[in-house]
Amino acid sequence: MDMSFFKSRRLWVLWLALIILVGLATLPLYGSLYMTILMTAILMYIILTVSWVIFSGPTGYLSLASAAFFGIGIYTSAILLPNTGSAFPVLVVVIIAGALSFVVAVLVGALTLRLRGIYFAIFTFGLVELVKQVLIFFEINVTGTRGRFIMLVDTHVIYFIMLGIFVVLLLTAYFIRNSKFGLALRSIGENEEAAAHSGVNVTMVKVITFGISAVFMGAAGATIAMRWTYIDPYIAFNSLFSFLPVLMAIFGGLGQFYGPVIGAAIFAYLEETLLTKFPYYYMLIFGCVLVGTMLFMPFGFTGLIQKGWRRLIGGQHADA
C-alpha cells in the first residue's frame, strides 16, 4: 500500500472533522432551539461513551462506575449553583465537578484496580449504589430535603460548554491513543503481568487513566444538570448512565477511534426519537436494535462500515 493514500485519507478525515466542528459550533445560528437541546443530549452521551472507552477500551477493565462520576458532577452543580443564586461562574463549576470526579476516581481506582474481570465490574457498579444511598441517607437524616433545584442557565451556554468538553475530550482521547501512555494502556489490556515486568508502572497508568476518564463524566454531569434544573439522588445516580456508555461503545465498535463517537451519536439520536415518537414501545424497539447489533454486527457499526469499505476498494487495508 502506498503512503500517499494514507496521507490523503488522514487529511480527508481531518477536514471532515473540522467541517463537522464548525457546523456544530454555529448550530444555534441556523438550528431550532429543539435542535440545540437535542444536540446537547447527544453530545452528553458521546462524552460519556468516549470517556468510558478511554479507560475500559484498551485495558479491558469493564467499569460500571460512569454513573457515579456523572452523578458527582450533577451534585456539584446542584450544590454550587442553587436556584437561589450562585457565587460561582458556570464554567468554574464545571471545572470543579471534573476535578472532584478525578479525585474520587483516583481514590477508588487506587483501592480497587487490583480487582480483575467481573470483580472490578461488580465493585464499580456497587460504587454507584453506595454514593446514591449515602446521599439519600444524608438528605433524609441531615438536611431533611429531597432533591435540589438548580439555577436557570441559558440553553446556548449549556450547549457551548458541552461542545467544549466534547472537543477537549476528543483531543485527549486521540492524544492518549497515539502516545506512549496509550501503548502502556494497551499492554495492560493484553497482558498485565508482562507489562509490569517490562517496566510499565501498571498501577499508576491505570489509576491516572481512570481519573482522566472520570473528569469528563463529571464535567458532562455538571453541565447537563443545568438543563435538568431539578435533580435528586435517583436522577443523578441512575445506573442507566453506567450501562448506556458500554452499550453505545459496543454499538459503535471499539476497534476504531471514531467508533464510539458514531455509536453514541446514532444511539442517542435513536433514543431521543423513539422516546418522543413511540413513548410506549420505545424500550421494546430499543431492545430489538441492541439484540440485532450483537447478532449481526459483532464489530459494531464501524466494523460494518469497514467491511463495506473493504469490499468497495477490494483490499485488506481499511485499518488505518
Binding site: 501503548l183 515486568h197 517490562s198
Partner: protein, 239 residues
Amino acid sequence: MRMLEGEKVTKYFGGLAAVSEVDFYVEKGEIFGLIGPNGAGKTTLFNLISGAFTPKSGVIKFKDKKISGLKPYKICRMGMARTFQEVKIFTNMPAIQNVALGALFGTPKSLSPAKATKEAGELLDFVGFSVPQDVPAGGLTLVNQKRVEVARALATKADMVLLDELMAGLTPTETAEAMELVTRIRDRGVTVFMIEHVMKAIMGVCDRIMVLHHGEKIADGTPQEIAASKKVIEVYLGE
C-alpha cells in the same frame, strides 16, 4: 562481583513452604542454572526475584541493593528482566512493538519511539527472529514468540535476565539455537539466570547450577558436581 544474592529467602502458600530458606548468589557474567522436579519452587523463586511476589522472610539483593518488596516495574528498570514459563507477549501487537515496549518503559532513561523501534529491530535480528516483524505476535510459532519475549527482556537494557524454561516445547534444532542464543546473551555482558528441564541444555551452557527440591536447596555447584551428586540423582531418578 556478585550480581544477585539471596539470603534465607522464604515464601509460603498457605501452610506450604514453596521456597524455604534458600541461599543463592549469581556472579556477574555468569550463566547460572536452576533445576528441580515439578513443584520444586523454581518459578516461585523467579517470581520472588522479579517482584511478582514478596518473600515472607529473607533478603534479595541485586547489584548490592535490596530489591525484595519492590514493585516489578522498579526491579525491571534497575536492570533485571525476565521471560515466562508460559509465554506472555502482547498478542495483538506486532512483534516489533512488543520489543519496543520494553525499550520504551523498561529503561531508566526515556527513549524516543523511533529509537526504541530501531533498537527493537536490531534485537529481533539478534535473537534470530526471521519472519516479518510487523504482524501481530499472537500468530507466531512458539519459538518465535519466545524469541520476541527474550528480545523484549533484552530491550529493557537488562544487566541480568531470568529465563524461565526457554527451551520447553522446542524442537531439537530450535533447542540448539536457543542454547547458542543464551551464550550470545552472556557475551553481550548480560548475566543469565535460567530455569531449565532440558538436561543436555543446562549441563552444556551453565557455569554453575542450583538444585531445588520441595522448596529447599539440595545442591549447588558446577555441572560436573551436580551430575555426580548422589542427592540429585536420588531426587531425579528415585531411590
